[in-house]
């Protein structure tokens, strides 16, 4: 299982990737899967143990995100479950 932080646009996704990389948190930018959100946003995928530090960093840098999901690989494809505790944040 890993975590997915979703962003409304490419600008926020890149700002987030840069902020996390400065904080030493490894995360991969990728197009948002359509089962997370229709449209064409970008998201960051990262291991679950990095999530709290990542969110803290994004909040403190004022990088806005539109949702957090957990991704599990099941038979027939990936399943994304929204994590209610992390409502859209940042500015």
């Amino acid at each position: 299982m890993d975590m997915v932080i979703n962003f409304a646009n490419v600008s926020s996704a890149i700002a987030a990737e840069q902020a996390l990389s400065q904080a030493g948190i490894l995360a991969m930018v990728m197009p948002t899967p359509s089962s997370v959100q229709a449209g064409c946003g970008f998201c960051l995928r990262l291991p679950p143990q990095s999530l709290d530090a990542a969110i803290e960093r994004l909040d403190s840098d004022g990088v806005s995100y539109s949702g957090v999901f957990s991704r599990s690989v099941e038979q027939g494809g990936d399943t994304y479950v929204p994590l209610g505790a992390f409502a859209a944040g940042g500015v």
């Binding site: 409304a8 646009n9 490419v10 600008s11 926020s12 996704a13 890149i14 700002a15 840069q18 930018v29 197009p31 959100q37 229709a38 449209g39 064409c40 946003g41 970008f42 004022g62 806005s64 500015v91």
Partner: protein, 375 residues
């Protein structure tokens, strides 16, 4: 000596950076451009450096367009509503005056041009009386592209704020040279890349102060690579005002040149250009029959000196300067009939000298000698 129109070349570092980018982007697999991520990273870098240069507190409030002409059309049409009254200076460029006139002719707005002295400077005395109950916006060019005259922007915009009007600044002739701070000074700062910012032509934009985005409707709409499920333009920045494929090469040129400007320091760029302007004004004063327009005071002027000589055709002067002496100037009305009416040089226009990063004192001496010879 036509820097007010456009910078003749990018600096070596900017050129190098652009060439390097072009080479890299030929190799598609080396980047992440399959999803526009590289373009996004370049735009973010440019937004950050421009936000720093213009003292904008959030980089996403820096929006890219093709230049001030596009920015002014977007901003004026996006902010103004039926029945609004607009104040502008009597030296505005047609990039401001024509969109205003178009709105006025459609019956959407009323517009008044604030009286300026013949030197092109707005008189702030009695300025409050120009405001009507429906005055919703004041737009000013920071420095006239014809006369060089710098406006008392802070004072005028403070009065506009007292009357509850939006403020919009045209920084075409000052960005990259004059210290500019948008926060607390203006609601909108429109900029162009190809003059003092020394980027490529065809890139520019505008910066918005906090909360302005909610007040401004998008004037053009289209694909943003975001929220694509919706047929409505997204309301978040910068996407709200940046539909369509971005001019990444232009944006990169701005990022590179603004980084260079910050490292040189705007203060020293301005000091150098003011010294050149003062020198040229001094040289012009010694030429019999030559009239200098504008403030004729480098401390109150951008690096622009507009001249004429009674009885002499400024078009012929410009042509002779070029063909006989190789000096490039710009004659005529400089896209600003308003400024020429203010200066009393309409419709014949003036001969405009303007200076920039590569101008040398020797060039000034040479140009003044040439001017003497053709008169």
């Amino acid at each position: 000596m036509n820097y007010a129109a456009t910078s003749p070349r990018t600096s070596p570092a900017v050129t190098e950076g652009l060439v390097c980018h072009l080479r890299q982007s030929m190799n598609l697999s080396a980047g992440r451009n399959f999803e526009g991520l590289d373009d996004g990273a370049i735009a973010l870098r440019a937004r950050r450096v421009l936000a720093h240069l213009f003292n904008v507190s959030a980089p996403e409030r820096v929006i890219f367009t093709s230049g001030i002409t596009a920015s002014m059309n977007m901003v004026l049409n996006g902010l103004l509503k039926e029945g609004d009254h607009v104040l502008a200076s009597g030296v505005e460029h047609n990039a401001v005056a024509r969109p205003l006139e178009a709105l006025r002719r459609k019956g959407v707005i009323e517009a008044d041009y604030l009286p300026c002295g013949a030197d092109g400077v707005i008189s702030t005395q009695g300025l409050s009386r120009a405001f009507l109950p429906n005055t919703r916006l004041m737009v000013l060019t920071h420095a006239s592209n014809v006369l060089g005259s710098v406006q008392p922007v802070r004072e005028c915009f403070a009065i506009a704020k007292e009357h509850g009007a939006f403020t919009v600044l045209d920084s075409a002739q000052t960005a990259g040279v004059f210290p500019l701070s948008m926060d607390g000074v203006t609601d909108v700062l429109a900029f162009t890349g190809h003059k003092g910012l020394r980027g490529l032509a065809g890139i520019g934009g505008f910066a918005l102060s906090e909360g302005m985005s909610e007040r401004m409707a998008p004037w053009i709409s289209g694909g943003t690579g975001s929220a694509s499920q919706s047929l409505e333009q997204p309301d978040f920045l910068p996407d709200k005002f940046e539909p369509g494929t971005p001019n990444t090469l232009g944006i990169l040129s701005l990022a590179l040149s603004a980084e260079e400007i910050l490292s040189i320091g705007v203060g020293s760029i301005r000091a150098r250009e003011a010294a050149l302007t003062a020198k040229f004004i001094c040289l012009c004063r010694s030429i019999p029959g030559l009239r200098i327009h504008g403030t004729a005071d480098a401390s109150r002027s951008a690096a622009i000196v507009s001249v004429d000589s009674p009885g002499a055709d400024v078009g012929v002067m410009a042509a002779r300067l070029y063909y006989e002496h190789g000096v490039i100037t710009r004659s005529g009305l400089h896209c600003s009939p308003l400024a020429h009416k203010t200066a009393g040089t309409f419709p014949h226009g003036t001969l405009r000298f303007s200076f920039g990063a590569d101008t040398t004192e020797d060039e000034l001496l040479y140009a003044a000698e040439a001017l003497k010879k053709i008169l």
